[in-house]
């Protein structure tokens, strides 16, 4: 029996569950996946709410320790299963590690208009059909600008090796790419390259319930 359990949503659409999933897959540690229905508000059931504290997914359970917030989970996993035996979540240098955390935190706290107008259901279910608002356009432009700054010309990853920051950035870029928005060819190539990684594909291609189960 796995020592680690990951709680996600049954629609497999959470970018933060995705992020933890990729970290676990890349580390190659066994874990049990459990899904709950956010539509049915299962995250608010007292037992889940009180143990996760925040009533959100992802939540990691390690023994009797319950932990939510994807960044906290990823940091914890990297301490629990450290390099060099296990795949490192972050790059090796202190400044590169800081940059990776910056990108991951920025993706979790900014670009709200884009996240709302191009929700992850538009990646995995039906494409968005309404134009972006002015705020959505500004967020899309910011995303493309920053991706252009952090992904070196001709590179397939932000740093010398693939990290979870790549997974997070590519996921955010796919809100644009899959909904027909323009992006510079090298940014598109970068995001599509990351999207092919097996740890990423195993989440993207996971079986999902029909769309009606979500809304």
């Amino acid at each position: 029996m796995a020592d680690v359990t990951l709680y996600g949503s049954d629609t497999w659409t959470s970018p933060y569950v995705f992020s933890v999933w990729v970290a676990l897959q890349e580390k190659g540690v066994p874990f049990e996946m459990k899904v709950i229905s956010l539509k049915n508000k299962e995250q608010h059931r007292p037992d889940y709410r009180d143990r996760s504290l925040t009533a959100k997914v992802p939540t990691l359970v390690h023994g009797d320790f319950w932990l939510s917030e994807s960044m906290a989970i990823i940091e914890y996993l990297d301490e629990l299963y450290p390099a060099p035996k296990f795949w490192p979540v972050f790059p090796a240098g202190a400044q590169e590690r800081a940059r990776a955390r910056q990108i991951m935190m920025w993706i979790r706290t900014d670009l709200l208009a884009l996240r709302e107008e191009r929700p992850t259901t538009s990646i995995f279910y039906e494409r968005a059909s309404t134009p972006l608002s002015a705020g959505g356009v500004a967020a899309a432009e910011k995303l493309v600008r920053i991706a252009g700054q952090v992904v070196p010309e001709g590179a397939s990853t932000i740093f010398s090796e693939f990290t979870v920051a790549d997974a997070d950035l590519a996921f955010m870029l796919h809100r644009l790419l899959l909904n027909g928005h323009a992006a510079p060819p090298r940014i598109r190539a970068y995001a599509e390259g990351i999207w092919k990684r097996p740890s990423v594909r195993s989440f993207v291609e996971h079986e999902r319930p029909p769309f009606s189960a979500y809304g």
Copy 2:
């Protein structure tokens, strides 16, 4: 000349600048503070935008390395100035450290209605005058519930020692306390105790421009 510069807003109202400020004060390392006017959109000036990447405060400059996102900055500072020589940002145990990161991440990504309806200007300038919406009430209740769960009965800190997670949680609680909302006496006592800490006071009591400069 200090090796480290911190960029904040000239109104001294950002909870994330506050968080980095507290970490730097507690570590006792010299740094230069620079403030920019968000009202005048100085964060969007090309030189600041391109170096900070995200065009936000706080941004830390260490030598020629520019870093934004408060969590990334705090992690970087803890690597740059590690314990035991310097005050540790996080608790010592892996699970307590994970819990501290969870609380800090949760404060940065949740309770949006409360953050909008009780902005930090209502802490440092004029109190809020409109009732909380249903969403604001739900966020306030969630904040009080989680504070009650993570702060042990009779304790003045979440863990055995003060951490930045205490500063962040107390800051969020003051959106309620200073705007006349009820909170359980022990939660109020906790938040008011943290509020008295010198590293906290030096930010809270810092000189600010008149309110009209903000809106």
